[in-house]
């Protein structure tokens, strides 16, 4: 066993030796090592986060036929550091009549709710993080803390725009949590476990090929959960200025901003873990944990890129359209999909691998097609209802 194969264990063994040499008890040394490991992982995440700012700005520029940051350093790579310095030396204002404790707590909770998600991310076969057997629900639980931080930020700012922005944002987040929870049942059914590592291990066929519709619904719900376009009505500039974080300045605003980017990247990672095999890629993960991490980061980046692609392509939709889309389309479809998947899973249990995959894909296609047809005919009726009288008026002229 060498460093290339299991770096964590070797580092931990070495550190245990060092710490016990200083006269620490093994338990205390263990806790200290866990603490240092957590600190290291979160520091790396923050560095990734800084570069996400650059990636996001560069990619949106390409989508919009611009160049993006290009002045500071090669390809503008120093730009995010300049951004951070700017945020740090900004004055930290607190609006009049704000609820100081809640106001200051909100950005911290917002960032924390994203960072704790990485406690359960399996980075490589030998670096599992915490392999919780309730991993799937942990993702939703961390999301609830994020929802709470948004309400806290909006309410404590003592500003009409921020309260309305927060309420809209929360209404959207909780609404889209229902289809998200529902489609998260589907990888759970396939893997027979809620632990993320078990889900990766049972993906000899990517779950995307077993249930493409579930992957799609998860992505849509994740985008809404992140509050990104087309579901970013909370920060509708023309009506609400900047939404729940309007009164925040300096590093506190930076926490919301950085938290949003890291959250998007994290959900790219979860999308990869649930539907695209996580760190697995044709046995590459067995060669070295470093390669496994590279595979996971690459897949997470692809997911993040898809989220950005949607963000800069589709325009913002209204809150009533968004909630109608969720409750009248996405939620029923995802529950029907759960029922169909459970039924097919039971019927095809003993079946041959290919039959199982074909059956699953077919049921997905049928559910997707039927629901799209129903939605199309409903939309047609709605159009006729709205456009009907207008044509009569035109006939008069």
């Amino acid at each position: 066993m060498n460093f290339w194969n299991d770096p964590l264990k070797i580092a931990a063994d070495w550190l245990t030796g060092v710490f016990t040499g200083w006269g620490m008890t093994p338990v205390a040394a263990n806790v200290l090592i866990a603490f240092l490991g957590t600190l290291l992982l979160i520091t790396i995440l923050m560095v990734i986060d800084i570069f996400l700012v650059w990636i996001e700005r560069k990619i949106v520029a390409r989508f919009q036929d611009r160049i993006g940051p290009n002045r500071l350093g090669p390809f503008g790579l120093i730009q995010p550091f300049a951004d951070i310095i700017k945020l740090m030396i900004k004055e930290d204002t607190t609006p009049q009549g704000a609820d100081k404790v809640v106001y200051n707590l909100a950005p911290m909770l917002s960032m924390m709710s994203v960072l704790i998600l990485w406690a359960i991310v399996p980075l490589a076969p030998v670096m599992l993080g915490v392999d919780l057997n309730a991993g799937m629900l942990f993702i939703i639980a961390a999301g609830s803390i994020g929802t709470l931080s948004i309400i806290m930020a909006g309410w404590s700012s003592n500003n009409k725009f921020s309260v309305i922005g927060a309420f809209r944002q929360v209404a959207v987040m909780i609404s889209f949590e229902v289809p998200m929870l529902a489609v998260m049942l589907i990888p759970t059914i396939f893997a027979g476990s809620m632990g993320l590592n078990d889900i990766i291990q049972s993906q000899n066929i990517w779950f995307f090929f077993l249930s493409p519709l579930a992957a799609l619904i998860f992505l849509i719900a994740a985008i809404a959960e992140l509050g990104r376009a087309p579901f970013d009505l909370a920060e509708g500039e023309s009506e609400l200025v900047a939404g729940f974080n309007i009164e925040y300045s300096g590093m506190k605003f930076g926490m919301f901003y950085a938290g949003e980017l890291l959250h998007a990247f994290t959900f790219g990672g979860f999308w990869a873990i649930m539907f695209f095999g996580g760190y697995r890629f044709f046995g590459l993960e067995k060669v070295s944990p470093f390669l496994a991490i590279a595979v996971l980061v690459f897949k997470a980046m692809l997911g993040y890129w898809v989220i950005m692609w949607v963000r800069y392509t589709v325009m913002r939709i209204r809150i009533d359209q968004m909630l109608a889309f969720n409750w009248k389309f996405l939620t029923p479809v995802s529950f029907v999909l759960v029922m169909v998947t459970a039924l097919m899973n039971a019927l095809l249990k003993g079946a041959d691998g290919w039959l199982y995959v074909t059956g699953m894909i077919l049921s997905n296609v049928i559910v997707g097609w039927v629901s799209l047809e129903i939605a199309r005919s409903a939309a047609k009726q709605e159009r006729e209802r709205i456009e009907g009288p207008k044509q009569v008026v035109e006939a008069h002229h």
Binding site: N133, L137, I140, S144, T147, M152, V170
Partner: protein, 169 residues
Amino acid sequence: MTGEQVIFLIVGAVTLLSGFMVVTVRNLVHAALWLVATLFGVAIVYTLLNAGFLAVVQVVVYIGAIAILFIFAVMLTRREAAETGAPLNNNWWVGALMAGLTFSGLVYLLQTWSGFSKTASTIPSGFDAISQLGAALTSPQGYVLPFEVASVLLLAALVGAVYLAFNKK
């Protein structure tokens, strides 16, 4: 005193203190936020009891849904008088007396019970609480009826709440 006991004492003290703030603080949004702190403390107590699934469910259901519902309801029903007046009614001392009596009565009754200070057995390796729970909730010898009745209860609550809050006279 072991590390586990220290964690329990800190968490328990914080939980009880936040619970006390819930029932005494004037601002109702603050009360709801203190409730979140209390519920989070209870979630940590669940993890101490090796019930990780319930801890996560506690955060999802209580903090993610019930606390949000409370804050929405507070924002919908706000009125000046409710926030400036006393948080407690004139007979609060009766309530305090009742609560004190309940607490001392419960503790007195419990400490006469023989199993009061029993310690936990070790959990057998390979024990998966979620899987066991799934089996218990679906097997006809288990709790399949409560499982289905819970869904009927939720349906009744939804229909009732929608009807109550929004029927147009």
